[in-house]
Structure formats: structure tokens, C-alpha cells
Symmetry: C2
Subunit: 429 residues, 2 copies
Amino acid sequence: MKKIYNPDKTTWLEVLKRPTQTVADIENTVLNVFDKVKSEGDIAINEFTQKFDGVLLDEILVSVEEIEEAKNIISEELKEAIGLAKSNIETFHAAQKTSKISVETVDGVSCWQEKRPIQKVGLYIPGGTAPLFSTILMLAIPANLAGCQEIVLCSPPNKEGKINPAILYTANLCGVTKICKVGGIQAVAGMTFGTKSIPQVYKIFGPGNQFVTVAKQLATKFGVAIDMPAGPSELLVVADDNANAAFVASDLLSQAEHGKDSQVIMVTTSKKMIDGVEQEIEKQLEILPRKDIARIAIENSKLIYVENDELALDLINEYGPEHFIVCVKNEDFYINNIANAGSVFIGDYTPESAGDYASGTNHTLPTNGYAKQYSGVNLDSFMKSMTFQKISAKGIQNIGTAIELMAEAEGLQAHKNAVTLRLESLKKG
Amino acid sequence: MKKIYNPDKTTWLEVLKRPTQTVADIENTVLNVFDKVKSEGDIAINEFTQKFDGVLLDEILVSVEEIEEAKNIISEELKEAIGLAKSNIETFHAAQKTSKISVETVDGVSCWQEKRPIQKVGLYIPGGTAPLFSTILMLAIPANLAGCQEIVLCSPPNKEGKINPAILYTANLCGVTKICKVGGIQAVAGMTFGTKSIPQVYKIFGPGNQFVTVAKQLATKFGVAIDMPAGPSELLVVADDNANAAFVASDLLSQAEHGKDSQVIMVTTSKKMIDGVEQEIEKQLEILPRKDIARIAIENSKLIYVENDELALDLINEYGPEHFIVCVKNEDFYINNIANAGSVFIGDYTPESAGDYASGTNHTLPTNGYAKQYSGVNLDSFMKSMTFQKISAKGIQNIGTAIELMAEAEGLQAHKNAVTLRLESLKKG
């Protein structure tokens, strides 16, 4: 672990630097897959699944029988846990519903804003050893609340041509309309262009490896939107003398186990806390099954001491952490003044894993500093806002002259004329 | 004009096809400018301004004196018109403020969502013959309402090194914090990397030519967000027998004068209206100063007859128009069921130019079919939503077991451990 004491402001950019990823070499692979899926549809999908996942599928869509089978495999206690998480996530996201905003800006000029669902959305869920069924909760629940008509889920099959039962169970529970056995670049390409089996969607959500990340970027060139740019997951804890070093260490480690490139930072006004957390990490790390991954992330992690809360806050806002844990006595100072963070976890009993699974907040969050300008996934991510206006004869008489003057000043005579014609017809009338 | 009667559903994609733009050849130019601005800052900015705008500047920032001068040049009546537009836009966008959403999902688990401003934003305003000061109203007013700290505006200087006074006047009126004399690719590069004169920003808004469009796309690779993908402006009118052919024609023409590639479509259930609008267009076109541009756009425009409102609606939702004008008796049918449109204009006295300037709605809207998944610019475009959670000892006891079970099922032991440690400490306590 890197221990840094009182870094000078001029060094902050360097201290807070994230590892950079190079993707140029992946782009050609992604382009080739896109081309082939676009021209050959399901035939190309099946070829790539055979090549990358090692299985030749008869059928891309998951069947009703497979979903029934999954329901029988999942234990009752896991079903209950998923049910509790679902209920909390639903409660929090349903509260985000906004009503129509309606204003008469001047007499006779009515303007309103309404949100309507994105009709077709796609969710990507990675396969592999860890089946991320929790991410289905985070994406399918708000998609359903928003009223999306088509909710497509793609996830790669294993060598037996199956998808993990926890994924199937959760997808079915949360109202996914179609589950496709397809992963990686070809899944993103399939949802971008549409094939016989895979519906075309307007927006693609969800995590993935470097290939999926580059594929999602490329999809935006073909008119598809994506949830947000991706990057390695990251956590920043601010702690003072009152923090519990064991708890802080456990949170840092829960982030570190995600991957070797995970970002783990503690900022503290307490030198004692640096030593305490370091010792706790060593102790807890030993018993983790994923300790090899976590150790590499922890080696690159930073424990930063600063003189006071104001400096700590500036440093944290400069970084813009995806997950931000506040374990200090004066927590309101950080809550009120944090400008850039994805999700904030407050106090001793709010581990990051609570937000990952079951508190109710969303775990799909801006990383890589994108908290400065992007929201985490929320109900609005599955809707778009549209505006409406209705102007009466009186209304156009109230604002018509202003429009004529401005249109003329911008050199747009036909814009002016559309108003002039109407004003003249009203004079005649 | 292309008149199309009862197009078969299988031909809709072809009928509604937008002109495609190729940008590959522009990309290298854009990359070179970005490289140079990144490494040389203001020196490169000044070189490109000399090369592309034909003027060597002493100072990139607009001075207080230049703003005072602009205030004296603008006529009182244009100032009043801008003042009315500003008031309406402020009223409508201020109404979009959302309050903190707070929920206790289960006993002891508090979750809330708050929106906080994007601290630094950049606005790009094109130069040329038509000074688009109205776009400053549409971008700077919500930026200010949102609470953005730094609002940078870039616009190219003319050959005398000046920016149009209407732009300077409006920018100053709407609280822009810095106005930079820089246009095109170099402006976007400047706001992406920051130079001595041009502040680095987190999100870039505003229209531009093909070079600016590609530059904004490239900026997203360097961690900057943009308002939305760009495309030629477009308008779709739905009209029945009751519509006023002269008004409809004037709206189609106001769109057509934007550019040769503007998209203009009328969908109607009235064959009479097709002939009436065609005649009116010919009549009104003749007297337009920009008739050469408008004529080319009109030649590519489409007047589409369909049998009934249901078919018309399906066709319109398939297209997803940027601007959608509803001139029919049964207007509620379209208002309630339109799924994909940027902004909707209802009735005989609601020309598109009202929304372009002064009704109060925003004119920065998704085009090119992006209304299917993107919002037009609104107050939220200048903010990001952040979530917070605070869990009590009771709260973690209520959801802890569920988190442990789910983390274990996903193979993430450290996530589980962060909860287990806390639960155990509470048992001991």
C-alpha cells in the first residue's frame, strides 16, 4: 500500500491518477464482429458463440422450460434474499417517478415536460464464474417501473449451452421480456442491429470486460445509446479518529476483490487510522478466497493523510469517486459539500456491499472520474423527457413580435414568416 | 417534393430514411488539432484561429470593454425581445427543479437521491452569418439555474477579431462566466484539455458544423461528456382536413431554410391537404431570402398520405422526429400516444419558431431518430443525480443476511465479510 502524507496540491493529479487502459488493439476485433453480425444475423451470432464460448447452440432464446428448471434449483433462502433486495430497489426507484411539469409562461403559452419510457432496452450481464444476478435487479427493476415495452437480456452460455440459474431466476422475476444466450461483442452487436432471434434496442446497459466496453462504445456510432462509459470499479473512504479500522479495511477489501485494476483509496485526517487500517487489511486479506486478486489491487491502493477536512473534501471532489464512504464524526460536512461522487455511504454500519445488493440504491455507477458529469443508473435512465407547447391566438399575439425580431436578427426569415402569417390572419379575423 | 400515398409498412424504413453523413475523412483533421492543442495550449489555439478564421488574436478572452460595446450596439427592441424569451425560458426550466427524494426502504435503511450541478460546463456557439444568440439562452439559462460554477462560452471571431454583439450581449445577460474567441475543432479541444486561457470543462453543449460534431465525439474519449449526438435538423407535421395549409407550409419552410440537408415531412390523413400544402410552399418559397437552400431541402421533403390516425402515429413513432407539429382535430390522440419526439407543437398558433425562441421550451433537441432514447436539453442536463444511504445498527441487522447470501452466491467473499464483521460486532455489543 502506498502511504502518502500531506500531498501538495500541485501533486494531486498525479496522486489521484487512475490506471489507463488501451483499447486500440481491441477495436479491429470488435469492428469485424459488428460487420458480420450486421450482414449475417443469427448465423454469425452462432458462429461467434461457438468460437468464443465453445458451444454450438440450437436455439439462442432461453426457453420456458429452462426458466422453470432454474426456479427449482435456486434455494429458498437465496430467493428470499433476492426478494428483499427487489423490494428495496423497487421502493427507492419508484420514489424517483416525476410528474408532468406544466407552466403557462405567459398568458396563452402553455409548456409542459413529460417523461416517457424508452421503448426497447437491452441489458448485458457477463457470464463466467461469478453470476452477477444483482445487476439484473439494478437494471430490470427500473426498466420495468419506467414502462419499457421490450427488455432484452443477453448473457453468454457456458460450455453446456446453459445460463446460470440465478441469472435466469432473477431475470424472470424482474420482468425481462426476452433472455438470449449470447455474450461479448456479438451480444452488443446483436442488440445494435437486431437479428431474427435478438431484438434491436435503443439503449444498452450493463457491465462487461474490455471487449464489451469497446463494443458498447462502437454501438453508439450506430444510433444506440449506452448507460455510461465504463472503467474499473473504485472506492474512496474518508475516515477520522472515530472510524473503525476493521470496518474500513473490510470495505477497502470488498472493492479490491473485484479485480486487479480496482481502485482503493483512504483519505484521512488521522495518522493513527493509516496504521490501524494497514494492519487490519493484512489480517483480513489472508482468509479471502480471491486474495490473489485483492492483494494486487491493495498494493496499488493509497492511504492519504491530509491536515484537515477542507483539504480532504477538495481532494475527494478532484477525484470524483464511484463509491464514497464517510466514516467521520462531522459527516454532514462531507454529505453537504461532496460535489462529485456516484453513491455515498454514511457511517459505521453502511458498507459498500449494502448498496451493491440490498439497500435500494443502484449499483451501476459512474467510475473513472465520470461522477463529475454522469449520474448513476436511476429511473430516468430508462426514460427520456419530452416537451410540449400549445399556444392560443392570444398567446402568439403575446410572444409573436419577440419571435419575429429574434428570427430576423438571426437571419432566419422563414422562421419569422411562420409567425407573421399567423399574426396577420388574426388581424384580419 | 415527394408525394407518397399509403406506403406499405414494409417500406417505412426506406420512406423514413434520413440522409447519411460520412465523417471518416474529417477524423484525421480533428485528431491533429486535438494533439496540437493538448501539447501546445494557447499557442496552438492562436495558430488554428489564424488558419481557419483568418485573424491573429492578441487575447483569446473577450474583455469587459467589448461586452460594454455590444450592449450599446444592440437595439432596445431586440433587447426587449431577448428579455421576454429569457423570462419564459427561465420560468419553464426553473419549474423542472426536483427536490431531494428520500425513502426508508426498510427500518433503519435510509436512501436518498439528490441532484448536484456539473461544476464546469462549456457552450459552443457557431459564428458565421447567422449569430445563434438564441442558443445561448437555451444553454446558459439552465446552466445558471442548475448552479454550474464555471460556464465557458466559445465562439469563433470574425476577420476583425470580434464576436457578434448579439452573442456577447446574450452571454453576458445569461451569466456566462468566460467568453473565449475560439471556434471549430480548436474550441472543443481547448475545453477538453484546458489551456492557459480556456478552462477545462466536464461537459460540452451546443451545435456546430461537421467538424465540431466530430470534435465533440472525440472529446468523449478524453473523459468529457456531450449534450447529445448531432444530426441535421428535422420537422414532422401531422395534419388533417382541418389544418391550415398556409400555416403548415410556413412551418415546413422554416425548417427547410436551416440547411440543404434539413428533413421536412408532412404526414396526413387528407389528400386535399397534400395538394394545398404543395401550392402554399411554392407561393411562400419565392419570397424567402434563403430560398436556394430551402428549395433543395423541400425537394427532398416528403408528403405522406395514410388512411387513418393509428397508421400515422405508428409511422411517426418509427421516425421519432426532433420537432413534431400536431394540426389535427383529434390532437389528444397524438399528444397521449406519441412515444418518440423531441418537442411537440400543438395547434394552429404554435409554430415551431415559437419553441426555437420564446415559448420557454428548449430548442436543443435530439434529431436523427435519437428522440427514441435521448432527452432534449433540460435542467437535468446540467446536473447529475447522486445517491446516499445511511444504515443504522438496526438497519444492517435487517438486511445483512440477505447481503451475505447474495454476495456469497456471486462468489464475492470480501463483500460478504464487510457485513459479517459488522453483524458480529453488534452481537458482541
